[in-house]
Amino acid sequence: MLSRKQMRKGSTDVLILSMLAERHMYGYLIAREMKERSEGYFEMQEGLLYPALHRMEKDGLLTSEWRTVTGARRRKYYLITERGRKVLDKSVAEWITFTRTLMRLIGGQSDGEPQTVSG
């Protein structure tokens, strides 16, 4: 049986890209928005957000820039790249297809509510 953790594991990159497609954000803000918008469903271990961000930056999906906040304090803001947008569009399309197909197979209605399979 798939746990919530396993199901969330494959969606982290897409979530990060979709949030950065709206506006530039720094790491803590990404973690906070992810938790608030999902009402706690996507609450990941915050420290593991940074390896994901750095990996995507290395892969060319994001870029980053340091911005001065106050005095000597700086924040690293992440921006999505064109390549990141293309990957996001492709990933979202795949997720939609995946979800629709899954719901169809487990007897889902068009509005997304599952029916009970057993008779």
């Binding site: 720094y26 790491g27 803590y28 973690a31 906070r32 271990q45 915050e46 420290g47 593991l48 940074y50 390896p51 750095h54 990996r55 290395k58 304090r73 700086r74 924040r75 690293k76």
Partner: protein, 326 residues
């Protein structure tokens, strides 16, 4: 608040010890900022400063897990960097292949043997020097280490170091002039020897880089053992052996963990030395055999890839323990 955060970040920093200092400091600054932001938010919900920081540290997760995850991301090179690291091996392979296959009419023509030697090995040496220069100007990234290894080996060879025979051309101390002149020019451009010092520190911090710098000796050994072989399969065998070395280097750069890097280098070294051994035994004994020499070759690969660089790792660990004790 400061103490618990400091201890946490020190633990993360320990996992990032193989990264360049600037990159390490950048990562720590980012995490520090995250902790401060999180702590500030929690304080608005009524938590005391120390409580808020403890909560922020808990939310961030295990320092070791975070540090190792970050280290794996940054340790792994890109495909471009992997191909750059493999380039000197490919250049060596091409030089030998062109000499053996690409120009038989020239080889057979009187007076062309030495010019052909200059042409092929000259182009190869140029690749080493260009890689050395670009690596220097980029502050000695990991992919640049094999260029230094090859440059040093071939300069030693052409200066007259004999491995069972003299080279076709022999320059003595003059062999060092091109490389050392280039180093002098680079030192003027960069206003010092910081990249070289950075390279040495990098090898001390991450002993696998020393393995990479020593790895060209495996390719060199394959070439030296093939030297006496004059058969149609000499060229393809050498090409295969050297391309296996290149594959090992690509695997090294693309790996994120130390044991993976060592496995790539050791495995490729063993494979290329075995190819060399099989081809030479076929030439001398008329049949391809895996003899008692193979364990010796494996031992050589282990010494080059693991033992010598690993001793640097041991020295580094002992040094860090001494600093911690003091």
């Amino acid at each position: 608040m400061t103490e618990s955060r400091r201890l946490y970040l020190d633990s993360v920093a320990a996992c990032l010890s193989t990264l360049p200092r600037a990159k390490r400091e950048e990562i720590l600054e980012e995490l520090r900022g995250h902790l401060d932001d999180r702590s500030r938010t929690l304080q608005t919900f009524g938590l005391q400063k120390e409580e808020a920081m403890q909560e922020a540290l808990t939310n961030l997760g295990s320092a070791e897990e975070v540090g190792q995850s970050l280290q794996q991301v940054h340790q792994r090179g890109t495909w471009g960097q992997a191909l750059l690291a493999a380039l000197p091996f490919v250049a060596f392979a091409l030089a030998l292949s062109i000499r053996e296959w690409g120009a038989p009419p020239l080889k057979a023509t009187p007076g062309w043997r030495v010019p052909l030697y200059y042409l092929t090995y000259g182009c190869m040496y140029l690749v080493f020097l260009v890689g050395l220069a670009v690596g220097w100007l980029r502050n000695m990234p990991t992919w640049a280490y094999p260029y230094w290894g090859f440059w040093f080996l071939f300069t030693l060879w052409w200066s007259g170091l004999s491995i069972g025979g003299r080279p076709t051309v022999f320059y003595g101390l003059r062999a060092w002039i091109p490389g050392l002149t280039l180093v002098a020019v680079l030192a003027l451009i960069s206003r010092g020897f910081r990249p070289l010092i950075s390279a040495l520190r990098g090898a001390f911090r991450d002993w696998t880089r020393a393995s990479l710098a020593l790895y060209p000796t495996v390719a060199f050994l394959c070439w030296a053992c093939f030297d006496e072989v004059t058969a149609a399969y000499e060229g393809p065998s050498m090409l295969l052996a050297l391309l296996l070395c290149a594959a090992g280097v690509i695997g090294f750069i693309r790996s994120s963990r130390r044991w993976q890097r060592m496995a790539c280098l050791f495995g490729a070294a063993l494979a290329s030395l075995t190819v060399m051994h099989v081809a030479t035994t076929f030439y001398w004994e008329g049949q391809a055999v895996l003899s008692w020499v193979v364990p010796i070759l494996a031992a050589y690969a282990a010494v080059v890839v693991l033992l010598i660089p690993g001793s640097i790792g041991v020295a580094q660990t002992l040094w860090q323990r001494r600093i911690a004790r003091d």
